[in-house]
Symmetry: C2
């Protein structure tokens, strides 16, 4: 048995115990873990420093180093995240449905944990505590495979969390970390169907595509967002400009940022100059089709612009003759994340909501709201861009399954 298999087996062995913890027990552990992380701030920071030194030596980019860096404030942030999760209602044990068909059986559909969840992510040590909190609250064991650049940090955080678990009398294999961060072991991890029930990749489009391609374990795809805003001919141009400005520039590196503007040709002449003026404040580069460029000067958009998630101060601009053309364009190029229409026409709003194929479809609001907290779900494990199991912001419920509990009185099938 390899170390990896050993780890999977131990996680699976923790499952029956985790399944039966009460809400109070789970919240107690989460609050204790928050306290322990803060208590061990020095120890975690020392480990993080080793990662930071290695990262600088390897020439990691500033943005990545910033994601890797831990500070006392960031550790307090991780702890606060765990306290918030403790406050969320526990979905486990909830009776989703109850009915008695003609055979007289009493059938209850009850919410249960998924079992063992694998998380594959990059060098962001805050994900470590966060993923543990969400999985533990839902009675799941978690096996983490973080980026090699954050290994020391992750080891320190996981060690603290295991100490918390032990001190609370819970199985320490409720959390485990794959310390061998080689590609070979990652590939083996993605085929550990015997012990892992679900795999959730969190990170870049490349990481996610690799997991989808190589995993034999069911995967929940998260993340990539080529989000559009369609400005209808009846849109209020001032509202449209504020919304596009917000969705493009409020935070550029996130998956629900707007990457592409679709504008009705009858709205373009008034709206585009207003928008361009607003976006100039942040020096946003526009890349447009011919009709857009006839209204205001901008770079020419190439075919690949329509499909690009820039995560940068760049916005593509497509002009259309009708809402149907807008919808067809969006359904061709979007990634199933968040799409918006700005309109004063109720019929157009309804058509857009119905026909655009994405997790979250907005009327007259910024795409930046697609997020567990904004949706009122609390902390989230990611934003699903697939249609199976969970779609959009995934709160605690997305980490659960259900079972049928059936009471009979001796029924046999005729």
């Amino acid at each position: 048995m390899t170390l990896l298999e050993q780890l999977g087996r131990e996680a699976k062995a923790a499952e029956p115990l985790l399944r039966t913890l009460s809400e109070e027990q789970k919240n107690q552990v989460l609050n204790q873990a928050a306290e322990d992380l803060v208590t061990h701030t020095e120890r975690i920071l020392r480990a993080n420093e080793k990662d930071m030194i290695q990262g600088k030596e390897k020439g990691m980019k500033a943005g990545l180093l910033d994601r890797l860096l831990l500070t006392p404030e960031r550790i307090e942030g991780m702890a606060e995240g765990l306290r918030q999760i403790a406050k969320l209602p526990d979905p486990i044990g909830q009776v989703i449905d109850e009915h008695t068909p003609a055979n007289g059986l009493r059938i209850r559909k009850v919410r249960v944990p998924l079992g063992v969840i694998g998380i594959i992510y990059e060098a962001r040590p805050n994900v470590t505590a966060d993923a543990f909190g969400l999985c533990f609250k839902t009675g799941n064991a978690v096996v983490l495979r973080g980026g090699s650049d954050a290994l020391y940090s992750n080891q320190a955080i996981v060690a603290v969390l295991k100490e918390t678990l032990a001190s609370c009398g819970c199985p320490v294999s409720a959390i485990s970390l794959l310390e061998d961060t080689s590609r070979e072991t990652a590939a083996d991890f993605m085929k550990l169907n015997r012990y892992i029930d679900v795999l959730i990749p969190r990170g870049s489009a490349g990481l996610i595509a690799s997991v989808v391609k190589n995993s034999t374990i069911p995967v929940i795809e998260t993340g990539s967002g080529n989000c559009h805003i369609y400005v209808d001919e009846t849109a209020d141009p001032a509202m449209a400009a504020e919304i596009v400005y917000n969705a493009k520039t409020q935070r550029i590196g996130v998956c629900n940022a707007c990457e592409s503007l679709v504008v009705h040709e009858r709205a373009a002449s008034v709206f585009l100059p207003m928008l361009a003026k607003r976006l100039a404040e942040k020096e946003v580069e526009l890349r447009g089709d011919e009709r857009a460029r006839a209204v205001i000067p901008m770079k020419e958009a190439a075919e690949e612009d329509w499909g690009t998630e820039y995560l940068d101060y760049i916005l593509s601009v497509k002009t259309v003759d009708s809402i149907s053309e807008a919808i067809a364009h969006i359904n061709r190029y979007n990634t199933g994340h968040s799409e918006a229409i700005i309109t004063e026409d109720k019929t157009h709003a309804e058509q857009f909501l119905r026909e655009v194929d994405a997790a979250a479809v907005y009327v007259n609001a910024s795409t930046r709201f697609t997020d567990g907290f904004e949706f009122g779900f609390g902390a989230e494990i990611g934003i699903s861009t697939q249609k199976l199991h969970a779609r959009g912001p995934m709160g605690l419920e997305a980490l659960t399954s259900y079972k049928y509990e059936i009471y009979g009185t001796g029924q046999i099938r005729g």
Copy 2:
């Protein structure tokens, strides 16, 4: 572009139209399809005859030939299946949830189709009409890859259904059949993520394992059932004997048949002789551990018996000292399908329901009830043994996803 890609693309192109069909339109097509299948009975039977001749020449086993065979009654059965699906309530468009968080957005969670569903199955032509009916009712396009031995039959059935679609003004690519049944094309099909949203394999454990291993499209695993019945020390032995007899022998080739008996050692001496007598009526072979064999004569069970889904007149018998030992044994060897306890002890019943990890867990009833019709869901696309998306009998809802439709009044994120 290969023929396969062409087919995927056309199915995807049908999606927007299918999504917006009304319940009445869909039911009209389903009822028309039922009528058309019956009208074209001769044509379908002629195609089926070609498959049967080839099958006999190839030396297909009697059981497989029987599954392949169509008769006027079986075609009427397929038609009746479609009429039944027309009668089920349409889940599409249902508002699952509606709320307004602090940001003032009105968020509606609405049920939508999955999109394009791929079904991979063996030489059972009745699945062809059945899968179409369930997918069409839920607004999904379906791409079928049936067994090569049923190709002529499937072509005839799909041709009739496409004629129905055309005559009703619906896109004919709502259903398509992969006519190239080579392994290479099947492998390519399982990687057609761009066009196919979900893949559902229906058939033998080998087929399912191959799809899970090779598909990059999300898969819903169905089917295999190593189902146990645990006879507790407090069980009513007469009830227990009737239930085990029913679950083992009422239909042996199905996934919810009982394959293994787990018996408390204090129940064994009274119960096992009663059961053996009842099972002798159907000449069921018992394979037991040492303690079971000390009560009544039977074959010795080997380690591999505990993990075997016999689908035959064979039952393994395991003796335990406690309910906890029974649960541990079941959780080790079961396939997540259906498990039962026979007991008069309420605490034991609850422990079993809570701790056994399977889609359907029964108290005092036969495992044979795990089935869409018995659960009151109507026709089913299969019984899911995984925890993601759907678990247990999958009715129409399992073929749906949801989206968030969000109404704002100009909200931007601060």
